[in-house]
Symmetry: C2
Subunit: 488 residues, 2 copies
């Protein structure tokens, strides 16, 4: 029968792990902290990546590739950056192994020590801005709108598949501009691209905002974020876009001749999303029976299951239906396995989050119809075969929308304004989700709140209520309510 999945109420964290592993999205690897992304998980990532890549290119960006390694000294050039990144990272000290003269297998060759250690990139601002120095001379070389799809490594002790792993896949945009204004506009534009992707493709509602100084990217002037809410009431930072000012240009001496013929430091942005989004996707939509993938990103959108098993007639009918749907761009699968029964297959494809299942039996075929079941609402109905080419695309669009609306309703119900610390804690403990509270703008208050509640300032929302008030902790003046939550 179907694979045992821990329920959310029993153990949310185990539920998540069960889904990831039993649906064969990813596995832990023999290397501590590093995951293996299995074909089904990677197919999902490919769909996400291809759509994001298209959105980047539509906004004028091009891809490039920079080295995996960063000289240790580069990490120290931007003072804030080193504090944030250089500490937990993979360090390459040698470039050769040799046979152990004492017969103990292979050992590191002490004669092959690097003069300067190399860091495996945790993010690429330093190596990229060191390169931009050679590419930028005048305002005519700007803007530089470059993105990179890459693997990065941040040494993590406590890892969770997709959400936090030592190595992960991501994209990092690194742009260079002649003015602060243009760079800030770019930062905001990419935040909008991320929000649009999250909502329209992942069906995952997000709140756009600015991070507090304390939560900023190491080396940024401003960090913009999209924040999503998971089903356990915890927030997930789903993407960030940084306005870097002239910090990296100064650290790496990247200047340009502006239109007034003066040397000036270049303005920078960087922005990234990662395989972490897959964790967000899973925790936004799935249930105790398994994954639930939004149709626009699902590796398989429609699975055909023969009832009770394949016959020549069923094979032919499914072949014809598949062809028709494929021609419309629908991603289909035919589960023609002869050694498992329909009930097992149903459970399996529910676990895998396939949006639509079509059951095809001989009696249905006699009536020229099939049974169409949707994963999200579990609704089933018979559809005439001749109507599939209209009904399936409509149904896929409806599932996409229904999933978004459901997630949005949950999210909206879990944004709670609070005016006292008691309420703050009570909401977090009993209801979860975001709390909207006034804050006096100081790091001290932010850290004190974190200490008291385990909640962090998620962001200062860009949209919504800008009414001033009094800080929930200190009673000091506050410019507007900001969003707090416990988070991943």
């Amino acid at each position: 029968m179907a694979k045992e999945i821990t329920s959310r109420s029993e153990d949310y964290s185990q539920w998540y792990n069960d889904l990831v592993r039993k649906a064969k999205l990813a596995d832990h690897s023999a290397v501590k902290g590093c995951m293996v992304i299995r074909p089904y998980g990677f197919a999902l990532w490919e769909n996400m990546r291809d759509q994001l890549d298209k959105m980047f290119k539509d906004t004028g960006h091009v891809n490039a590739y920079f080295p995996l390694f960063i000289p240790k000294s580069f990490m120290s050039k931007e003072a804030a950056h080193i504090e944030g990144f250089a500490k937990e990272c993979a360090v390459i000290t040698h470039y050769r192994l040799k046979n152990d003269p004492n017969g103990g297998g292979v050992i590191v060759d002490p004669d092959a020590k690097l003069e300067e250690e190399l860091i495996v990139r945790p993010t690429s601002e330093t190596i990229i801005w060191n390169t931009y120095r050679d590419w930028i001379q005048s305002y005519r070389d700007l803007p530089l709108l470059i993105n990179q799809w890459a693997n990065v490594v941040r040494w993590e002790m406590r890892t969770r598949l997709f959400l936090r792993t030592a190595e992960f896949l991501w994209q990092e945009g690194h742009t260079a501009h002649a003015t602060a204004q243009e760079a800030i506009a770019e930062t905001r534009q990419m935040l909008d691209v991320y929000a649009q992707f999250a909502e329209e493709w992942m069906a995952m509602p997000v709140i756009k905002g600015v991070k507090t100084a304390n939560e900023r990217f190491a080396g940024a002037e401003d960090t913009y974020t999209i924040e999503a809410l998971m089903q356990d009431g915890k927030a997930l930072q789903a993407g960030t876009s940084h306005y870097l000012g002239q910090n990296f240009a100064k650290a790496f001496e990247v200047t340009f001749l502006n239109e007034s013929n003066q040397q000036e430091f270049v303005y920078a942005t960087s922005w990234g999303v990662s395989t972490r989004l897959i964790g967000g996707l899973i925790m936004t939509h799935s249930d105790d029976d398994g994954l639930m993938f939004p149709p626009k990103l699902a590796p398989v959108q429609v699975v055909f299951v023969p009832i009770p098993k394949p016959t020549e007639e069923i094979d032919r009918a499914i072949g014809e239906m598949s062809q028709g749907l494929k021609a419309l761009g629908v991603r289909i699968q035919y589960d023609s396995d002869t050694q498992t029964r329909p009930g097992f297959k149903f459970a399996e494809h529910e676990l895998r989050g396939v949006p639509i299942r079509i059951a095809v039996g001989p009696r249905d075929l006699e009536q020229n119809q099939v049974e169409v079941a949707r994963r999200d609402t579990r609704e089933k109905r018979f559809v005439k075969i001749e109507d599939l080419s209209v009904e399936i695309p409509k149904l896929l669009a409806d599932i996409q929308l229904t999933m978004f609306n459901k997630a949005k309703q949950y999210r909206d119900e879990h944004i709670t304004p609070v005016d006292t610390m008691d309420e703050f804690v009570k909401v977090l403990d009993e209801k979860g989700g975001f709390v909207l509270a006034h804050w006096d703008g100081t790091v001290e208050t932010e850290e004190k709140i974190k200490e008291l509640t385990k909640a962090t300032a998620r962001c200062i929302p860009l949209d919504g209520d800008k009414e001033p008030g009094l800080c929930v902790l200190t009673g000091n003046p506050s410019a507007q309510r900001i969003l707090f939550a416990r988070s991943y």
Copy 2:
């Protein structure tokens, strides 16, 4: 004026570097041996990757992602493999930096030493077969047809952009099969895919063959290769496909229950091509004026140049022509720069290898025509604007074919059968290219020939003459002529 390019006859190696750097395909980086792939070079790689990826998927493969790091001990498990790969590699020994207590910036934290060192993958057989052990139990789990697009690192002292760098991008297919026969068929199938890609997309003729035992991949039973010929008469190994037998299954204890209910070791293949192909593409087609990209892979297929500079009328005409061509899937660019003159632009786009240039001037427009120039033959002719949608696709196809035929003629003229060592050396020194010579099948002879001529056995060709003869060096019996060349 146009950038100075060293001519091939003057200094072939400098010519190559000039093209790569001045056409902005790639640059050296601050990290010794690692390159930066610039947007124009990366766009070419994306086209190559997308087409290969499609061909892999069309032959039933799926993508996945495995860890960047490999535990040191894994490298020793397959005896031949360690000899070939573990020696020159990036070794991670620590996972943290810290501030130097003596104020010397950041230093490696001696307390953060890894218990077991990690190697940055030079190739992934070991980590993948260690993973497959958990994925394969019965013949029903087979075949496993997985590919990975990834970066790999092989420490290299003497590097050349694209051709030999410490870090490079590639794909590595790793498949698992229930029988030797099926695995060998897979190995051959992927060799055919590579050959088809090289010839039909890169317009680069290749010879398919088997490597001699001496030149085999470390851990393979048989290595198949496609060998191309560069314009300086040196060969380039452009892709390899390995039949690995049960070597890695045995090293990592990967067994399956076969249909007769017996435990058996799994059969393996692996196959890969890399960014090295870009080097091959450049050296197959380009000339002293710059790159020459085959239309199917060119990032820009048609560039419009306004004569002598943009006007409203020219902008409008080019806008309309562009729209028409884009709708046909043609990749176009409009060089609307106002600060450079047509002659400069012509040279620039020749350097960049754009297959077709369309010059648009006011007098041409009066006659409803434009001047179309092809990069490969330099032919120019006037084409009526209304005919572009027919003529441009035809011309792109013709350029693709002409480039292939030209390269094939050169290659065919540079395969020379020789019967004595004197001839062997004379051909290599005076004419270059491949020599076809009888060889007695021993490693000793192969190495002696290499010592005498600097040529290596490139492959035992799969097609062509199978007539036996006498070894060119020893006079001992030879089963067939094999291909030798000096190579990259």
